[in-house]
Symmetry: C2
DNA sequence: CATCGTAAGCACAGATGTTTGCTTTGCAGC
DNA sequence: GCTGCAAAGCAAACATCTGTGCTTACGATG
């Protein structure tokens, strides 16, 4: 009688498992002192069986991508301020605030790590990029609808988004004050390449 | 008699092994269709025993970092053009050219991948950053010695280096023509935040 | 020419990651 | 209530990665 007690076998709902695993990814990405990320460790931290993780996500890249997109979409409310500059500033301020938290930096790292390995080519990365740029595209669309003339996406990528990523990668803290304004002013205020629409460039 | 033929055991010199392993890292980073990078695969591709790789580099991160820094330093000759703008432009042009080759993109990915995992904190990443910024610092030093007033490193990071990285990450091709000039002009020509030497802020 | 140190190669063992077959749970539809 | 489905849990096999002791080749030094 090795006393198999079938009653002790409890399980959580799929949503609970999903949330717990996502949280475990973030935690391990924030905390680890030299440990590297892998599925058994994530599953243990989340308190779920590792086979559940393997069956649901298949591999680490997919799990990282899912975690990153889920959290990033949840955390970017995308409020309408009425002007292009206001929207960009709000976006940049939210990004800077996020960058100052371990969790925010972990999410950027998750985006990075999820990308390079298994994706067969540009297709996956481009799709990933589209998802990540969704809020920016919405800001641009709204500006166009208002009659403003927003910079092209590529320029926003180069001047607004790229600095956030590079700093997260290398662990360079943003300037203590005025950094969102600085980047948005550079983006909208410079005269070469693109001229932004009219009145919103007043200081 | 399983015919141990001691004569067949040939070996290459340490330098040959190092070069072969570096090349294998680049190859696997360029080519793989969904395969993920690991030491046994690298060793096999390089034609060396995997134990040699483990003993020399210890782990994948260190190998990636070594490969990236070695190749990047080898491929950035750093010629002196006589002006800050010329030096930055040369640097940017070399970077764009490198970004257009699979090997160049692989090196950027190697830098990314080598960073996040085991490094215990900011210390390692900061050091890595210093090495990567070495050529830029030299350009700034030369400009200062000439009496020019180069932008601070952070601004060069945000406006010149960050775009290259972000595009490599997401696989976004740079504009076909004029991209280096565009970035350098934005960097040196804008009037807010930092004023570069002289009257270059004219529109 | 002999000797010695360094580093690569080999075989094998241990640890870890990944996958599979099956059982059990919770929930929805009848 | 009963039944069936989807998904989580469990255990064990399977594959792969990582590390160790030892042998062997190459080059430097005397």
């Amino acid at each position: 009688m090795t006393s198999k007690q079938p009653t002790t076998r409890i399980r959580r709902s799929p949503e609970q498992v999903r949330a717990a695993v996502h949280q475990a990814v973030i935690d391990l990405l924030c905390d680890p002192q030299g440990e590297d990320l892998n599925i058994p460790a994530i599953a243990q931290r989340a308190g779920v069986n590792h086979t559940s993780v393997y069956r649901r996500w298949g591999n680490l890249d997919a799990l990282l991508a899912d975690t990153a997109t889920t959290r990033l979409e949840r955390d970017s409310p995308l409020n309408d301020t009425g002007t292009l500059r206001g929207d960009l500033l709000a976006w940049a301020e939210a990004s800077v605030a996020s960058m100052r938290t371990p969790e925010g930096r972990a999410l950027v790292r998750a985006v990075m790590l999820s990308m390079p390995n298994s994706t067969q080519a540009k297709a996956d990365r481009a799709q990933h990029f589209q998802r990540r740029m969704h809020s920016i595209e919405q800001i641009r669309r709204r500006a166009t609808a208002r009659g403003e003339n927003p910079p092209p996406l590529e320029q926003i990528l180069d001047q607004l988004i790229a600095p956030f990523y590079i700093r997260s990668i290398f662990g360079i803290d943003p300037p203590a004050t005025g950094y969102p304004e600085l980047l948005v002013d550079r983006l909208l205020g410079n005269g070469n390449g693109h001229r932004s629409g009219g009145a919103s460039t007043a200081t």
